[in-house]
Symmetry: D2
Subunit: 333 residues, 4 copies
Amino acid sequence: MLVILKSHAQQEAIDHVVERIESLGLKTHISQGEFKTIIGAIGEESPELQEQLATIDGVERVMPIMKPYKLAGREMRPNDSMVQVGDVKIGCGNYAFIAGPCAVEDFDTCMDTAKIVKKAGANMLRGGAYKPRTSPYAFQGLGEEGLKILKACREETGLPVVTEVTDPRNVDLICEYADMLQIGARNMQNFVLLTEVGKAGKPVLLKRGANATVKDWLMSAEYILSNGNENVVLCERGSTGFEPELRFNLDVGAIALAQIYSHLPIIVDPSHPAGRRDLVRPLCMAGMAAGADGFITEVHSCPEKALCDGKQALTGKLIAELIQQVQRFIDHK
Amino acid sequence: MLVILKSHAQQEAIDHVVERIESLGLKTHISQGEFKTIIGAIGEESPELQEQLATIDGVERVMPIMKPYKLAGREMRPNDSMVQVGDVKIGCGNYAFIAGPCAVEDFDTCMDTAKIVKKAGANMLRGGAYKPRTSPYAFQGLGEEGLKILKACREETGLPVVTEVTDPRNVDLICEYADMLQIGARNMQNFVLLTEVGKAGKPVLLKRGANATVKDWLMSAEYILSNGNENVVLCERGSTGFEPELRFNLDVGAIALAQIYSHLPIIVDPSHPAGRRDLVRPLCMAGMAAGADGFITEVHSCPEKALCDGKQALTGKLIAELIQQVQRFIDHK
Amino acid sequence: MLVILKSHAQQEAIDHVVERIESLGLKTHISQGEFKTIIGAIGEESPELQEQLATIDGVERVMPIMKPYKLAGREMRPNDSMVQVGDVKIGCGNYAFIAGPCAVEDFDTCMDTAKIVKKAGANMLRGGAYKPRTSPYAFQGLGEEGLKILKACREETGLPVVTEVTDPRNVDLICEYADMLQIGARNMQNFVLLTEVGKAGKPVLLKRGANATVKDWLMSAEYILSNGNENVVLCERGSTGFEPELRFNLDVGAIALAQIYSHLPIIVDPSHPAGRRDLVRPLCMAGMAAGADGFITEVHSCPEKALCDGKQALTGKLIAELIQQVQRFIDHK
Amino acid sequence: MLVILKSHAQQEAIDHVVERIESLGLKTHISQGEFKTIIGAIGEESPELQEQLATIDGVERVMPIMKPYKLAGREMRPNDSMVQVGDVKIGCGNYAFIAGPCAVEDFDTCMDTAKIVKKAGANMLRGGAYKPRTSPYAFQGLGEEGLKILKACREETGLPVVTEVTDPRNVDLICEYADMLQIGARNMQNFVLLTEVGKAGKPVLLKRGANATVKDWLMSAEYILSNGNENVVLCERGSTGFEPELRFNLDVGAIALAQIYSHLPIIVDPSHPAGRRDLVRPLCMAGMAAGADGFITEVHSCPEKALCDGKQALTGKLIAELIQQVQRFIDHK
C-alpha cells in the first residue's frame, strides 16, 4: 500500500509511519517528491493497518495497491469459472435463461407459469417463497408451503429452481427444496446470511446491491467463497439513480467491469430496473450484449392478478420472444 | 389512489379498471380530460391493488394519495414522540449525545473511551460487539465478550448502551446486555431483523440505508412499530453519492423531511459520512441545525490503533469541544 | 393537471385553487376522497400555473398529466423520425457509425485517423476543434484551424463531419465547416446555445447531460425544435454514478425510455462512460442492444500521444472489429 | 504523479513509462513491490501527460499527487480570502445575507420585494433578468429591462445586486448594472462563460453544478481566477440525488470540504435544494452550521403569483425570522 503524506509533513510523521509499518513485519520504501513524501509498504497488507495509518497526523491518504478480493478476483485466478446448477451450466459459454413468477402465490398459478417458461425455452425456474417487501402490509410469501410448490414444479418440468433466502435460520430448510439460493439485492451486505450460504455449499445467485460498487459486490462474493462455497453466480439488477421513471438503472458498466476483475459467471436481471414490461426486452438485450452469461426475469400467467411486481412481469408470449432474440444474439456474437 | 390512463385509452380499459376497483369494495370516480381519463379509487388501498392496476393495458400510471406509513407518519399521529432509553429522553426538546468506539476491541480501551466520553458530556455510550464489515478478513467484533465489556462500562459510567444487532438469532442475547438496539444502515431493509427487534420491545436506533428514500426509511420503521414496538429513534448517517472524497453524503434534507412526515425522534451520525476526523464537527453541527434531536459519533482513546474506522474517530479533546458547541447551539436555537 | 390538497384542507383553499384555475380559462373537476380532495384542471396548462398553484396554502402537490415536450414527444407525433447528415441517414432502420479523434490535434494525426475510421467502416467523422476541458491548463482545441483540418478530412474521405459547438458566437463559423453540430453533455442545458443551434438549422447531435432526466433531455431537444430545427439526434453518453472505476454510468434505460417517449433518433457514445479502452466494446454493444440507432466513439492513430482522452481511444484494429460486431448484431436483430 | 503498473508488467512497459516521463524533463523514482511496480514522476505534471501515461500497455492507473487547482487551492495560499461587493464583505468572519425574487417580473413586484428583504436585514439583493429555464415555453426573464429595475432597486435600498449571466455576449451589459455576476449551476462548466466573467473582473458568485465534485467546482473557479479575477465566492445549491421529494440534496459535506481545500468564501443557497418553503429554514441553518459565510435565498412579495419558483419563495415574515435565527447562530458560534 502507499502512504501519501501532507505537503510539508514533518520528519517525525514519516518516522512514525515507517515504524508502524515495519513493526508489523512489512518493508518500507520512501519516495521524496518536491512537495510530498510517499511511503510504500511491501508485504501482506491488513485492512486494519490501512485505516490505522490513515489516522496518523501528517498522513494525507493511504492507497491500497492490490485488490482485496483474493478468491473472487482474477489476480490469483485468471480463467473464467463455471457454476453448475442441476444439469444447467452457467459461464464459459453456457447460458442461464431463468424465468418464473416474482412470488409463489398458489399451486396452480405457479405450475401454469412454470409450464409456460419451460415451453418458452427457459432452463431454470425462479420463484420467491420468502419475499422481502418494503411494506409490512404487503404479501410476504407463502414460506415452506411455497417451497413445496416450487419442488412440485421442478418435478413436473425438470427445471432446476432458484429461490431467495432472507433469514439465516431458514437456510437449511430451503436447501432441502431448492437447487440454488438467491441472495437479494437488499441482503448483499447481510454478512450473517452470506456466511450461512457460504457454509451451506449450494450454488448461490448473488444480486448486486442497488448502491454497491463492483468492489463491494466482489467482497460479498468473497464472504461466500471464503466460507468454502465456490459456486457463486453474480447478478446485476440495477443501481439507484435519479431518473424518476426507472425503478433502477441497469448498470451495464458494472457487468463489464465485474467480468474484467472477477472470474465468476454473471447474469442480468432486467425486470427490476425496468419496473415496467415494455423495458424488459431492451434491458435484457443490453445486459447480454455487455457480456452477461444469461438472465433472470419475471413471468406471470396473468400479470394483472400478480401479488407482487405484476407491472414488470412478462407474459408467455413475451418470454418466448425474448428467449428467441437472446438465442439469436448468442448465435451471432 | 389515482389511475391515469394513456391518451386515447379505449372505453374497455376504463371499464376494466373500474370493475377491478369496485370488485374489491372501493368506490370509483371518473374524471375525463381533453386527452386523458383519470379514475379515482376511494377506500382502503392495498399495496397489491396498486401494482395490479398498473399492469392493465391502457393504464399509464397509478398514484397513491395517502402515505403508506400509517404508524410512523404524522397523518394519524401529528405530535412529536419521545423515546426513553434508561433515564435518557430523546425527542420533544430532549437530546441524545451518544459517543463511544466504533467497535469494542478489548476491556481497557473500551473502558478508557467510555470514561472519556462521559467526562466530555455524552449521555449515552455506543460500541459494536457484532460488526458488519465489507471484508471477511477484517475484524468482525468480539461478540458476547464485547457485550460483557459494554455492560461493565455502563456500570462504571452510568451511561445507557446502544449496540448493533446483525443476526436475528442474537436479538435476545443482546437485549440482556444493551439498553438500545441499533439497526445499521446495511440492514435497514433486513425485514427479518426488523420484525425481530419489533417483537423484542427494546428501544431501537434505526439508521437510514445509504440509498433509502425517506419513504423507504419510514416503511422500515413501520415494520418495527407494527410489531408492537413504539420506541424507534431514526438516525441519518449519509447517502451514497458521487463525491470521491466523502464516504457518504450527509443528507440534511432527509432529516428535515423525516421530521415533516414522521413524529419519531431523529438523530444524526456525522462520523460515517465524514470518513475523516476534520469533517465530523461541521457535519454534526449541520445535522443539529437541520433539526436533529441529538447525535451519535465515534470516539477512540487512541484512534491510530483502532481496529475499525479510526480515521474518523474523535479524540477526547475533540468530543468535549463538539458537545460544548452543540450545547451552545441548542441553548440559542 | 391535478392539484392534490392536504388532508383536512379547508373549503377556502379548495375555492382559492378553483378560482385561480378558472380565472385562466381552464375548467375544473373536483373529486372528494375520504381524506383528500383532488382538483383536476382541464385545458392548456402553463408551466407557471403549475408552480403557482403549488404555493397555495393547503395544496400538497400538483401533478402535470400531459408530457411537456410537445414537439419532441410521441403524444402528438407517434412515428419515428429520420435525420439526414450529408448522405448519411440516422433513424428508421438507418445507423450512424461515427468515429474519430477526441480533439483535432494537428493535420497529419487527424487525417491519419480519418482514413483509419473510413477504412474500418465508419460513415461519419467526429473531431473537436473547440474542447470544453475541466482544467483551464489543458489543451483547449485548435479553434478555426481545427475546423479547416476537419473539412480537409471530409474532402479526402467523403465522411460527413460532426464537431462540438461551445460558444453561441461561433455557431455561424462552425456551420461553414461542419455537417452536424454537437451539443456536449455539459452544455445540454445551455439554453442560449440551444436556441442558437435551433436557429442555425444544421443537424444537431444533442448529448444527454450527466445528471439529466429523460424529461430534461427531451426539453432541451424541445428548445432546438421549437426554434425551427427538426434535425435533432439524441446521444446517451453516461450519467453520474457512484462507481469509482467508471467515468460515467452508461444509462441503457434512458435509451430505451427516450425511444418510448420520443420519435427522435438516438445514438450511444460508449467512450465517455467507459473512460478506458477495454470497456468501449461491451458498452457500445449494450447501447445498440438497448435500441440505439448508431454510435459515436473515439479513435486515435496513436492513443498514447493523444492530447485528450487517449485512455479511452480505440486503435484502428479495435474500431474495425467493433463495427463488424455491431453490423452482425444489426443483421440478426 | 504515481504510475502503477499491472501485476506482472514487463520490463519493457516500465522502460517505456520512464522514457516518456524523463523525455519531458521530469525525474522518475521506481518502487518495486512483491507484485506491482510503481513509478513516481517528480516535477511539473501536465494534465496531458497523466492521460497519456494511462494509455500505455501495462499501466494499471495513474494517480496525481498535487491538487490541480493552484490558484483556488490552499496548497499555495493557505489563508482565507475575503471578497468585497459594494461595501459588503464576504468571508473572514463577514457574512452575506442575500435575498430577493427568483426572477425580476415587473417594477412594482421587484421593488416591493427589495424593500421587504432590506427591512428583514438582508445586505444584498438577488434577482434574475436572464433566466435559464428547463422549458422553452416558460418565462425567460425581462432581459435588459430587468437589469434596469434591479438598478432602481439598488438605488432605492442601497443593497448591492447580484444577477445571473447566461450568455457570453451579455457580460459587458450586465456589468453596467450589477455589482456581482452569478454563474448558475447549469453553467458551472460553461467554460466560455467562465472565461468571460474572469476577464470582466466583477465579483462572481459561482454556483456548484448539481453533479460536480468539489474538484470540478474548484477547477471552474480556477478558470475565473486564472483569467485574472480573484473575486470569486462559491455557492453550494444542492446535488442530484434519488429522493423524489427533494429537488436537490443540499451537500453540507461539499461546503465543509471546499473550505478545507480552498481559501475562497462560500455561501449556501437553501432554496433550490428545498424546492418547498418549509424546508428552506432547516437547510439554510444546516449550511451555516457546516461553515458557510452566508446564504442566498428566494423571497417574493406574493409567492403564489410568482412567475418562477414561487413554491420555494419565502414571505417577508419568514425571511425576517430566518435572518434573526442565522444572526443568533453566528453570535454564539
